[in-house]
């Protein structure tokens, strides 16, 4: 549960996020708006949602996760392209209905029967932080594990996000897209959200630059979210592709190839190294 995960977060992850918070956004300046590969028809498609700055056509080379996936696919000699969608339900459609090769995503829930046909390879863990809008809560907002003061406040959630702990605490829930949630904080439709600091930083810089100082993170941890590439056994090449992908990912971590990609997106500082360590933990 997100409200009680602080003890599960390693010190290194925490340090990574602190550093990411101060990471200069200019290092991720928008490059070419789209790459041809993102929109090419292809037999083997890997479907994804936009998750800036990790996966987004607005970020250079599609974002760090997109570029890693493409590099690993190349190394694994898996011929596939990434196609991004604005809504998650399209990922589910392509994966479960059209037996797409794979999807990239988080907050995805499958039945036990569906899981039998899927191969989950974690790509990275993103540390989440709670955010609130300072003008709406000038005295600050604290989220204790069990708090009676939570009954009058509203949590802004992504569809598919685990909201059990919030509901248990009596917190009202409203849903929205990532950008919309930030705007709902400002409009006081919701009181707090949890999100990757890197995502918040990127979105505020792009859409709410003048308001950056008003979006404040809380001290409490909001847990982690794992971003997976999920291969489909129902696709003719799904199982083999998953195996090759896993092997190639390990090799590229060992060879330092991924370090180069991470450094390209996140710089050569400590945050890049920490990000890379996250990848290594999965090998």
């Amino acid at each position: 549960m997100k409200l009680s995960t602080s003890d599960t977060i390693t010190k290194s992850l925490f340090a990574m996020i602190v550093l990411l918070l101060f990471y200069p956004v200019s290092a991720m300046a928008t490059g070419p708006r789209v790459t041809t590969a993102l929109f090419s028809p292809h037999e083997n498609e890997i479907h994804s949602v936009n998750l800036p700055p990790f996966i987004s056509s607005e970020v250079i080379d599609g974002g760090v996760v997109s570029e890693i996936v493409r590099a690993v696919l190349k190394e694994a000699k898996v011929d596939a392209v990434i196609t991004s969608h604005p809504v998650k339900r399209m990922l589910m459609y392509y994966l479960l209905q059209e037996n797409a090769l794979a999807v990239l995503g988080q907050h995805m829930h499958f039945s036990e029967e569906q899981k039998q046909h899927l191969i989950f390879i974690p790509l990275t863990i993103t540390q989440q932080k709670y955010y609130y809008y300072k003008p709406a809560h000038p005295q600050g907002l604290v989220i204790p594990v069990e708090g009676s003061n939570l009954k009058d406040i509203t949590y802004g959630a992504h569809r598919g996000e685990d909201i059990g702990a919030y509901e248990k605490a009596g917190i009202a829930i409203k849903y929205g897209r990532t950008t919309a949630l930030l705007k709902k904080l400002k409009s006081t439709e919701v009181d707090f959200i949890s999100m990757s600091p890197l995502t918040v930083e990127w979105l505020l810089e792009r859409y709410l630059k003048a308001e950056k100082e008003n979006y404040v993170s809380m001290d409490e941890d909001a847990g982690t979210e794992t971003l997976y590439i999920i291969f489909n056994r129902k696709h003719a090449e799904g199982e083999a592709a998953a195996l090759a992908f896993r092997k190639a990912l390990s090799k590229m971590v060992r060879d330092g190839d991924l370090k180069r990609i991470v450094e390209k997106h996140l710089g050569k500082g400590e945050k890049g190294k920490l990000y890379l360590r996250r990848l290594e933990t999965f090998q």
Partner: protein, 443 residues
């Protein structure tokens, strides 16, 4: 005493109830352009009746013929305690669409694009679009996504044959497929743009492009967010912000001095209020909060913003009856006004031609017998129940109750501007206004 004030009272009554030929508007007497003053009194009666019965707060009606304004009358209230004026500014909403179409046709004439170009040539997100096909109840998945048979072309956006939807029509024309697409729109943060979202138009368009279409391009007439896509297309092709392009290339040359995407502060006092009417005498001035009914969201207060990011090619313009007269007169003149050419005659002919407007009826505003050209609904036959205009008449309307009609054969323009919600009641009034306008032809 009575005899002393009678002349004054008479003057006031005349001033309020008859067209006032203000010098700056260069008005003509109806008879000079083949219209009957006597018959135009029916227009006065029609509008006054609706005002006195509190069906509408007020209105401005303009009828022009042969290039001259012959009837230009403001009635009722623009706002609480504020009389409607001929220069009152209105949210013209969907009457923005012909302006956007004009911008696209200007780029077409410059050789910057072809109407047959796939939109993806300029906005890559439109590549590889899918069409949502609902599956029978009980199917493993409620819909299938099928590849488009051909890509959405610029022409489809102008003519509303792209398969792109408006959300608010989900309540008007309910169907499983439409509902599924609309739910995806909502999840992706797509709005109709009537409540101005806090984002640039391109952001919305790029998300919209990645969502399924409601129908195969070219195989449906479906009123939708097409003009919003066109507005962004203007930005991509011209390299200019959409509002700058329109202001520099259309508003300024045509001297549409009171037409804006965001109203300057000094003109705010001229903005009409929106009135909520139950059409039975229950008339209340709407406040500036959003009006949300089902999937329709309107926000009268948006018009008070002096700046913002969202530049909707389908809804954002605020304007006056006189400005819109100048815009439509440019069309009636074959693309030019007062020596300023905006479009070539052949482009205007292409946009308004009855034999180019496709096989689908544009049934949202009208009924059978009306087709959608490249920016307007065009009367193609006599089947339509209100049929005072000629074949070839082109029109459109706005959701706060605004309507225009251009009759090329009679060289006549009719503009009705009100600000009343909901708009559903107004079809009859609009049609009666057009009947009065046509009935006044006297040559």
């Amino acid at each position: 005493m009575y005899q002393k004030i009678l002349p004054f009272l008479s003057f006031v009554v005349i001033a309020i109830t008859t067209p006032v030929f203000a010098a700056d508007y260069k008005l003509s007497k109806p008879e000079e352009v083949g219209l009957s003053s006597e018959r135009l009194i029916n227009m006065d009666r029609l509008i006054d009746e609706h005002v006195s019965q509190k069906k509408i707060g007020g209105a401005v009606v303009l009828v022009a013929r042969k290039g001259q304004i012959a009837y230009f009358r403001a009635s009722g209230l623009a706002d609480s305690g504020k009389a409607m004026q001929r220069d009152t500014i209105f949210r013209i909403v969907s009457m923005t669409k012909p302006i956007t179409s004009t911008a696209i046709m200007m780029l077409y004439e410059q050789g910057k694009l072809l109407l047959s170009d796939p939109v993806s040539k300029y906005i890559p997100e439109f590549r590889n679009q899918k069409v949502l096909v609902p599956q029978p109840e009980g199917s493993a998945f409620p819909y299938k996504l099928e590849p488009v048979k051909r890509e959405v072309q610029i022409r489809d956006l102008l003519a509303h044959t792209s398969g792109i939807l408006y959300l608010f029509l989900n309540d008007v024309y309910p169907s499983p497929g439409r509902n599924m697409v609309v739910q995806m729109y909502k999840e992706a943060g797509i709005t109709d743009g009537f409540c101005r979202p806090d984002e640039a138009i391109g952001e919305m368009v790029k998300r919209l492009a990645r969502l399924p279409l409601y129908a195969q391009p070219g195989e449906v007439w479906e009123y939708g967010l097409n003009s919003d896509v066109l507005g962004y297309l203007v930005e991509v092709v011209s390299g200019q912000k959409f509002d700058s392009f329109v202001e520099e290339r259309i508003f300024k040359p045509l001297k549409m001095n009171d037409s804006h995407f965001y109203l300057p502060r000094e003109k705010l006092h001229r903005l009409a209020a929106v009135w909520k009417s139950d059409w039975q005498g229950g008339l209340v001035r709407a406040d500036d909060k959003p009006i949300v009914v089902g999937d329709l969201c309107l926000n009268p207060g948006d018009a008070r913003a002096q700046s913002g990011k969202y530049l909707s090619g389908g809804a954002s313009v605020l304007s006056t009856a006189y400005d819109y007269f100048r815009f439509t007169q440019m069309y009636l003149n074959g693309g030019e006004l007062d020596g300023v050419r905006i479009l070539g005659r052949k482009s205007v002919e292409l946009m308004t031609a009855t034999n180019h407007s496709g096989r689908f009826d544009a049934e949202f505003l009208h009924s059978k017998g009306w087709k959608f050209g490249l920016g307007f609904a065009i009367q193609q036959d006599r089947e339509h129940a209100v049929d005072s205009g000629d074949i070839g008449t082109y029109e459109w309307a706005g959701i706060y109750s605004t309507r225009f009609s251009v009759d090329p054969k009679e060289q006549k323009i009719t503009i009705f501007l009100s600000q009343t919600n909901p708009f559903g009641h107004h079809f009859e009034l609009w049609d009666k206004v057009l009947v009065q306008s046509a009935s006044a032809v006297a040559d």
